[in-house]
Amino acid sequence: MGFPHSHDLEAGTILSRHFGDASARRLEPWTGMGGYDGLKKAVGMEPPEITAVVKDSGLRGRGGAGFPTGLKWSFMPQEPTGPHYLCCNADESEPGAFKDREVLRWVPHLLIEGCLIAARAIRAQHVYIYVRGEYFPYTKILNDAVVEAYEAELIGKDILGSGWDCDLTVHIGAGAYIAGEETGLMSSLVGGRAEPRVKPPFPAQSGVFGRPTTVNNVETLAAVPMILTGGAEWYRQWGTEKSPGTKLWCCSGHLERPGTYELPLGVPLKDIIYDVCGGIRGGRKLKAVIPGGSSTALLTPDELDCPSTYEGLQEAGSSLGTASPIVMDENTNLVAVIRRTAEFYAHESCGQCVQCREGTAWVAKILHRIETGGGRLKDIDTLYDLCEQLTGRTICVLADSVVFPLRSSLDKFRADYEALIGGGAR
């Protein structure tokens, strides 16, 4: 079950090199595979040095936003007046995304190492790994690795004799997509509802327990150890200037070979679908792809020549997101898919902001009515209007997220909607 192999073993397997090898989960074999070499290097470096390497590497946040990681770390106070915290966001709940689980279950020590290096860079003394509640099988693997690392004194007091103390706690959620939002995660961690907060204050000023905090995605942190041992230039041998490195692509839907593949950023999106994943199953034709997890605009078959980079997807009118293409073949009832996606957002809305609380549920209701034959032409106008009202008005971007698949499906597949509305008589 899992992760089919990297497309090209030479092309760059940083994270996935040991996917499928159960021995990589255990400390002994893992250290033999180069595990914790990054940490050993890091404890001999000052925090700004570590941050500089990561900054130079151009690593960007892999949780969907793509914010430069080194830059994010540099927002933390350089002279702490109290505790700093690192939160690892393992709440992976974006429909389409299933990459972080591969890191958790095959190379948990890689993640732990990345967390520790990042913690040192931001002068934190405690790391919280927030894992979504549903991931019980992978959490167990991570837990065993954490205990091993503690017993080997890789976590805890005076790490590798550096004089630096750092603890790590694994903390699981209980079913809330919105706990994957940076401030929602922090609200949940401290013992509350996973309700996003207004920024400012930004996490680097005041995060968990009122202290400076950095939140990073699993895949982002997992890249850090090898960036440290290999160096920024080494990491930049893959990808583009603005989108360096490799990415775990988790591909789903009507594909011949769905699964998780590590690829250098920049491979044309078309190639990922047709070469790496073997094209559409059953030899059918492609109808549309949602390229970056459900919160991104869908693309039609003729829009897939773009390079799979942050800037490339943006130019194509969508975004890289979590690099989780959901592929739909020609027989897909697209309106049903968008309806089900809208229902997801409606169910996951935390309920603070009016637009999101009411708007996502309304969108789902309208789509349901169109899907079941009760739609009218003016519903399409209403949906477009709702797209406007759900964009840029709320505390977090959950509301904005439903707009991407919705509006792009209305723009590019209006005929699908009109067909269900029966010729527009009403």
Partner: protein
């Protein structure tokens, strides 16, 4: 720029320049500029600002997105555009209204908030006339959230003001949001209804009709009652109140904002006080004892009859109340002097105190009367027992003698009763002169902090009863035509200010609607009296 130590910031809101202290949120700066930014979850008296209703969004030049003005802090040279100038902002507000009305029941015809509802008001202003929803609305129902407070979940806009009042001000985390998303609603822990002594404030802060006092439900429409500014008579805190009266009955009492006394709040006991205060058999006409029985007569006849028979200079005892105004208590001193009576006593009921951690200067005070401080300043003494009146002149003003032995005063040589209610003991009087009850006249009280505050007439007195100070002054003029007339409360207060050093320099007009502290009195500690 600084102003005596506080850094000041200058910005423009809709073209109007304002200068405010650093740290002020834009919504308050806009208020300074005379512009009201519509809002729900923001409340000036509640410190937490979740910025979640999204109604107060404004456009700020240089910012790509609209910003919530309740949490956006002013910066020098900031240029703000509210709904007065910005199409985008108006559009956003209209959308918020549409979203709020989406599942909102069409309850206006039966909802107590109608006419005083922030959803109605803003919906009307933003002008969206039709709903675009053709799908079924979500229906959630009604719950009893406290003994006396109902929660209509369908009307709720999840602004969380009620939750945050309880958290921030009442200091009790007993009201919460349950569930999430569009299924969210406000609730308590099952089996633990709210019973905090200040819980009634959640109804006041609710912008819509989701939270309703059970004893106000269906009672009166907002446009059907009159409102008078008053001071609560429940205890010595002296919360400023607004009294809503319909057809001469109190239908509701709400707190009136006074930053130095009660902020935006008042306690539940106080809310109920005025409705209960005038229960019982009323004294509504003058009565004189002729042929062994009390006979109703006109004021002219009563005053002449009493004046003729007043046993001047012969001494006696007096009983007053801490629930009467300073004007009345002071006027009585003139009568007592005429009678040769040296001072008088009053009783005060005491009860449990209750505080508000988030607004510590407000407490339900132990002393359950509004003017104990005033009575003491005017020379009266607190004493639980009634005076010994046998064979003596007895003057009772305001004390209803409700718990007195029915024979009290029957063997007084002359018993003058000035009061609003007729208990058994009161009916032993030689003469009854009816005076206005609670909320039926104007006057001033002195609260526990030494603050003199005006209260105004909210209801007509019963029958031909008149304010106490007016009756006493009229009686004294009957006795001595040369005395100055005291025709209105202004001159009654002026007479008091002239005669009592602690009040000197104050005037009725000068007190305004927020009152003033007596210079000589220092503030009480909490619960001191």
């Amino acid at each position: 720029m600084s102003d005596g130590g506080t850094t000041m910031v200058s910005l423009t809101v809709d073209g109007v320049s304002v200068t405010v202290p650093a740290g002020t949120p834009v919504i308050q700066a806009a208020e300074r500029a005379g512009i009201v930014v519509p809002h729900y979850c923001y409340h000036p008296g509640i410190p937490s600002r979740p910025a979640q209703c999204r109604m107060c969004l404004v456009a700020i030049e240089g910012q790509p997105k609209l910003q919530p003005s309740c949490v956006m802090v002013v910066q020098d040279d900031m240029v703000v555009h509210t709904q007065m100038e910005s199409e985008e902002v108006r559009d956003a507000q209209q959308a918020v209204i549409e979203f709020l009305l989406l599942n909102h029941p069409l309850d206006c015809p039966i909802c107590d908030a109608a006419g005083q509802c922030m959803l109605q008001d803003y919906a009307y202003e933003t002008g969206q006339l039709e709903s675009r929803l053709v799908d079924p609305k979500l229906v959630m129902g009604r719950d009893r959230i406290a003994d006396d407070i109902l929660y209509f979940a369908d009307r709720c806009i999840i602004c969380t003001r009620c939750v945050r009042f309880m958290d921030d001000i009442a200091g009790e985390n007993s009201l919460i949001v349950a569930q999430r998303g569009h299924k969210a609603y406000i609730d308590t822990f099952p089996g633990k209804d709210l019973d905090h002594p200040f819980r009634g404030n959640i109804v006041d802060v609710c912008p819509v009709g989701a939270l309703v006092h059970e004893d106000f439900v269906f009672k009166a429409r907002a446009w059907d009652f009159d409102t008078s500014p008053g001071v609560c008579g429940g205890c010595s805190q002296g919360c400023n109140i607004d009294v809503n009266v319909k057809e001469n009955q109190v239908v509701r009492v709400k707190p009136r904002y006074n930053p130095d006394v009660n902020g935006y709040w008042m306690c539940d006991e106080g809310r109920r006080h005025l409705v209960m205060a005038n229960r019982g058999l009323r004294a509504d006409v003058p009565l004189i004892r002729r042929n062994g029985a009390l006979e109703p007569v006109t004021w002219a006849e009563a005053l002449e009859w009493v004046a003729e028979r007043l046993p001047a200079g012969r001494g006696g005892v007096a009983r007053v109340t801490a629930s009467e105004s300073n004007e009345t208590l002071h006027a009585l001193r003139g009568l007592l002097a005429h009678l040769g009576i040296d001072g008088g006593t009053f009783a005060v009921r005491r009860g449990e105190t209750a505080g508000l951690p988030g607004f510590p200067q407000l407490e339900l005070r132990a002393e359950r009367a509004p003017n104990g401080a005033g009575a003491r300043l005017l020379g009266y003494t607190e004493r639980g027992e009634l005076p010994e009146a046998s064979g003596r002149t007895l003057v009772v003003l305001g004390d209803r003698l409700a718990d007195a032995d029915p024979s009290f005063g029957a063997d007084a040589a002359f018993f003058l009763y000035l009061g609003s209610h007729l208990s058994a003991a009161a009916r032993n009087a030689t003469a009854v002169l009816p005076i206005a009850g609670a909320g039926e006249a104007e006057g001033t009280f002195v609260n526990v902090d030494g603050r003199v505050q005006r209260f105004h007439q909210a209801m007509q007195p019963q029958g031909v009863a008149r304010p106490g100070w007016m009756v006493v002054a009229r009686l004294l003029r009957e006795v001595d035509g040369e005395r100055a007339a005291v025709r209105d409360v202004r001159s009654a207060f002026a007479a008091l200010a002239d005669a009592v050093p602690e009040f000197s320099g104050l005037s009725w007009q000068g007190l305004g609607l927020k009152g003033a502290r007596l210079p000589a009195m220092s503030p009480a500690g909490s619960g001191a009296r």
